[in-house]
Symmetry: C2
Subunit: 244 residues, 2 copies
């Protein structure tokens, strides 16, 4: 396609080549990881150094904090995280459980705000983390709001032995969730994890979801009486605070 700017694709691939396993790389490392020639890798690395996104000691290259500002262009343009954050903190304090906000991106949910508690086990979820929407409580309230559910006709992957993988069964569950106004998912994403979610609306349209995640050892009765009411109240408060 003639409108495609390959240099931009390659430059972004050079940024993404760096991670926990590759915090510092030589020119040869970057060329190998990205599949670029050494000459091309060198031009992209030097351009990123020049723009302040990367630094080098002459041999090793590493990312600089300015790269964070790219990610924050998205969070800032979304608006939702800033509005949701104080509500999440109040909710987490009230229910003593971790609370999160996510948006739907294709068939995934992506976390855009989160307040963890000490109670949660090993789960350490960061902003930007993705999960398959069909296996999460937040994904279900957002999928339930879609007019057309044909996109669910492909096979759904199982994340535990409890994940709903049958599209027909999932659609029935989404219809139920839509009528109920909130969803619960029990160990379908991860063993031991139970989560409830409610939709966040802007001008009547579902644009995100709020959840409370807890351990399955918490009795279902207590989820209904102690967690669902503050979940719904908080989701409505966030929806009201969004710029219209």
């Amino acid at each position: 396609m003639s409108d495609f700017v390959q240099s931009l694709e390659r430059g972004l691939a050079v940024i993404r080549a760096f991670d926990a396993d590759h915090p510092e790389m030589t020119l040869s490392d970057v060329a190998r990881v990205t599949g670029l020639t050494r000459a091309a890798a060198r031009r992209f690395l030097l351009t990123l150094v020049d723009l302040g996104y990367m630094r080098t000691d002459g041999r090793m290259f590493m990312l600089r904090p300015k790269v964070l500002e790219l990610g924050y262009s998205y969070l800032s343009s979304l608006g939702l995280p800033d509005v949701a954050q104080p509500h999440l903190e109040k909710l987490a304090l009230e229910v003593h459980e971790s609370c999160s906000v996510s948006v739907l991106d294709g068939s995934d949910i992506v976390y855009v705000a989160r307040v963890p508690t000490k109670r949660i086990m090993k789960v350490m979820i960061e902003i930007g983390t993705r999960f398959p929407a069909h296996a999460t409580s937040m994904g279900r309230v957002m999928l339930a709001a879609q007019d057309n559910m044909d996109f669910l006709d492909t096979p759904l992957p199982a994340l535990t032995d409890r994940t709903i993988t049958d599209p027909v069964e999932l659609k029935a569950e989404l219809v139920r969730v839509r009528a109920q106004g909130w969803s619960m998912v029990d160990e379908e994403l991860e063993h031991g994890l139970r989560s409830i979610a409610a939709p966040i609306r802007n001008k009547g349209k579902v644009i995100g979801a709020l959840n409370i995640s807890t351990h399955v050892s918490r009795p279902i009765d207590s989820v209904h009486t102690e967690l669902v009411p503050p979940l719904l109240t908080t989701a409505e408060a966030i929806s009201r605070d969004l710029p219209s």
Copy 2:
């Protein structure tokens, strides 16, 4: 410079053109904000749509969550945030004040991890936020570790009427901080804000800083007896946990 890839610079500028004030833009908006021709803006926007970083309804363009992954390349390659987070949560719970970790980037500090408390006033500091190093407690412990302080010879901006702006005076304070092993900054960044910080070391080298921020209404005695000891203990614990 022949090694400079202008397409990469322009593509990154298109991403950064989106923010809270410009969450959605038309092709013409993007051309105007970035100074690109409409033809060039169109090529960059369509490339970003193609790569999954942006979506469009045919008229308006907006960023997609994949942009977050660019920012997380940096956080992940740094390693420090993941190691520091559980220590920050423990410390914030113990001292009931907000705690943060930052790194030095030029003459700025950049927040890379943070646990807020309800106690803190209006300050809502996000990951990626920058402050001038000379006016912050974290900046001072990191500046104090530099062998060469000549970079402080330029005039220092005042953020409040209490900010140290005289390079000679600041150097004397940095020498004191270096000997003491921690720093305190009182309303030099913002009125009402008092902050203490200690260095985080990897293989003996200062690579970041940990702080506790509090209100000036907390007596100085209580800062010395209740906040400084857990600050130093936690900074050492994070340093010990870093991969060597």
